[in-house]
Symmetry: C2
Subunit: 501 residues, 2 copies
């Protein structure tokens, strides 16, 4: 036991340094995306490459390997938390050590090349320009997946990076259920009279948008003494230290929802990170357990709370007061319907709650086929358009608004998309649980009292970090494994009302 403790203490030391590296890299990255001057990017790339190579060395050091060989993450003399700690250090080490350094370097270079090629190909609407890069990234992703290893589908190896423990088979089953269950709702909405949303596209000054965004973030529980809100081209949340959680947003002058719901979304991510137990700070366990669970927090604050009628019963008078000219003639209920307008569209990030998951399903199916070799990159645009037609009833007018729209593939992120949809499903399941426990939740929200939502998350989701997997956490928190039924029920309830079905 004494020996075990000594090894564990040393492992914690090494881990603490690795976590500092993660945060230092993220500080440089945050700065790059928010404040860095235009011409500084070359030196910043070199600084980041240096930090990343030092971090990789530490992550795959022989000493770390030896400690992990001597420590048993099932050893019952260790506390539950220490067992989880050893397990997660091992998971990270095992994945990284499996990749030859040359593969890591090649993948980094190809990603960096692909990004700029993608930007131009998208602008020019020429998929063929990007195809060779994507082919190489798919090949490299396959190679990486083979290094990691998998038992069923090659997709599992990559998915596991973002959603540990989840498999393509499970995702397929869940997604089939979602797609099938949503078809009637999508069809019924398509036949119903459309709600108006023109008022969302009036001119909204950024300074006022910012003030309201900050007020809402403060009200729902984001702690600005332990975090910030800044502006970046693509909104994100990043953790630069246990008490340093940074959100970004982007103000569209002619589209109010972008920053309004974008800020609440990032606030959901941020509050998760701010809610992690102090014991886990600065360790491998001290962050959200999976991207799906992370997205459950952001998407439920953004959509289930943030686009609910009670939420706007509370905030609409204030919003209307701030934007008298833009919203003076718009009733609360019109506003509520407008921000929830359902309309099959080509662009994922602009999709409504009902059709959003269909965009994810499309990407998941295509990624699986690309990895298994059932679909060639050159046939991707046609496959995209065909499947869009089937799932959403529309086909994109061009590749720019189709297969070229997302940054993910050019960034080498294959296996990442499902976590967005899983987040919606987990979020609905958690929300149903809260509603069970707090039957007067709507009255509380109407009164601007968000504490019962946050305190449930602070008890059941946030504090554990990576101590439990997404599946375990869901079961502990709600009593059952992931069940898409909650999401389907939530959507049907909400949108049948809005569309009078």
């Amino acid at each position: 036991m004494a020996e075990e403790n000594k090894l564990l203490a040393r492992l914690k030391e090494l881990d603490r340094e690795i976590v500092h590296f993660v945060h230092m890299i993220d500080i440089l990255d945050w700065d790059q995306q928010t404040y860095m001057p235009e011409f500084a990017s070359d030196a910043r790339a070199d600084q980041l490459a240096l930090l990343e190579s030092m971090s990789h060395q530490r992550n795959t050091s022989p000493e770390l390997g030896e400690l992990l060989e001597s420590l048993d993450s099932e050893n019952p003399v260790l506390s539950e938390q220490d067992r989880a700690f050893v397990r997660e250090v091992r998971r990270r080490y095992t994945k990284l050590v499996k990749l030859p350094e040359s593969l890591v370097a090649t993948f980094a270079r190809e990603r960096s090349l692909a990004q700029s090629v993608w930007v131009k190909a998208k602008e020019a609407d020429r998929f063929a320009d990007f195809a060779p890069n994507l082919e190489r990234l798919v090949d490299l992703s396959r190679e990486i997946a083979e290094c990691y290893g998998y038992s069923e589908h090659i997709y599992d190896a990559l998915l596991d990076t973002y959603e540990p423990g989840m498999t393509a088979a499970e995702v397929t089953q869940v997604f089939d259920n979602v797609a099938r269950s949503l078809q009637p709702l999508v069809a019924a909405i398509a036949d119903a009279p459309q709600v108006r949303s023109d008022f969302l596209e009036r001119e909204y000054p950024a300074a006022l948008q910012e003030q309201i965004g900050r007020d809402i973030l403060t009200d729902i529980g984001f702690d600005f003494k332990r975090g910030r809100l800044d502006v970046s081209a693509h909104p994100f949340t990043t953790t630069l230290g246990p008490h340093d959680i940074r959100l970004t947003t982007n103000y569209a002058l002619n589209y109010l929802p972008k920053s309004l719901f974008g800020s609440i979304h990032e606030g959901g991510h941020g509050m998760y990170e701010q809610g992690i137990s102090a014991e886990l700070h600065g360790t491998v366990l001290g962050e959200g357990t999976s991207l799906g669970i992370h997205e459950s927090q952001s998407r439920s604050w953004e959509n289930i709370i943030g686009r609910s009628l009670p939420f706007w019963k509370h905030y609409y008078p204030r919003l209307q007061g701030a934007f008298q000219q833009q919203l003076g003639e718009v009733s609360l209920y019109e506003f509520y319907c407008g921000i929830n307008k359902v309309e099959p569209s080509c662009i994922r990030i602009e999709a409504d709650e009902v059709t959003y998951n269909l965009h994810i399903i499309l990407r998941f199916e295509l990624e699986k086929m690309l990895l298994s070799g059932d679909l060639a990159v050159k046939d991707l645009p046609a496959a995209w358009n065909d499947r869009m037609k089937e799932l959403l009833g529309i086909a994109p007018p061009n590749d720019k608004e189709g297969v070229l729209q997302d940054v993910h593939w050019s960034a080498g992120l294959i296996g990442y998309f499902p976590t967005y949809a899983l987040g919606n499903l987990y979020g609905a399941q958690f929300a149903a649980k809260i509603r069970d426990l707090v039957p007067d939740i709507d009255t509380k929200l109407e009164n601007g009292d968000f504490s019962s939502v946050l305190s449930w998350q602070r008890e059941h989701i946030h504090p554990y970090g990576k101590t439990y997997s997404a599946g375990e956490l869901c079961e502990k928190a709600t009593g059952s494994r992931l069940d898409p039924g909650f999401f389907i029920e939530y959507l049907n309830g909400k949108f049948k009302d809005i569309y009078g079905l």
Copy 2:
């Protein structure tokens, strides 16, 4: 030669990494002083400590030592720049390797302790609370100076860190000259009618101050594509990469000069860093050669240009337009006199151009005596007050506005102060040279044409980085070594006019 080139190439590799470390540390530090959330400081201290210890390892690595032993910085087959490169890498290495790691760690800890003790002691106006910390810092500074070594005065060893090649004897000689030459001017001004400056303390909204500050910085030549201006409690300039020079300022709502001249001052530092030759980027040579030369750039933009009548002939209409209420009744000449008001005062950072150097001379004399053991820390307040009376004719009402006013000693910075005064002297010497070469300089400034100033600096000062020492640079640029006569002449000319002497 082939062998020499190989060694040199490797030395350049190691140096490049060390410079990246400097920049990465400065990124974390910049963020801490500008945007970091209130509660994030503990983790940031750990991150910085980790980076600093890694940086120190690289700075003192045996490989570096071996390379330096094999490379001769006088070797004529090397280019002039490569010889300077080897010389400067050697200077940095030699200094750092002389300090035992325990001394470095003790000094870091004592500095960190002393800072918070100083803040409280200053607040409470109790020097005795800070005295034990200062005693330890003086002892440690003496120990460090002994490690570095010196041939004449122990002060030289510390001064050399900030102003390489300069000695206490030279500084003493220069400062004696300055103090003696300024006495008649100070006395004459004291007897002359005082100028008005009440209008500078009216209420000036920060947003308007910022806009004017940015406009002036842009006009004088600070490149915002390669830099930024932000807000921090204590203004500073920092280099986060060759194309990433960040200035900060601080807006006092009731004192216009603070940010107005503070921004121009930092702009002078920033333009020096932005003007360094691209060949030196990312190397030990790629920064200002000494703090004195750096200060010559900031102080001359702030004072010699920024507080000149031609400068305000150009800008005053604009300033007056922006602050109609505050400055509407104030004539250009009243404004010019107000921003140049001379008045012996206790606080160095608020001192005018005439009395500023006397504050520095006071500190230099006391530091020398502390280090040589001729003055005990407990006797410092009395010595401060006596000498203030002699130099400036006033004694501080308390230690808070006397011996406790500056942050430097609590930060372990002994030997640093002289560089401020040297900056004023170098600046005046450079300005005289420019005036020789461009006789119609005042007309140009009146027309808002600052290019002849910047282009002279860009030819004679900025590009060389650390290639030449301050003394060499001064001689190359002006044809003579540092001569305080230029500064005395500048002050006499300017202030006899303002005070009608």
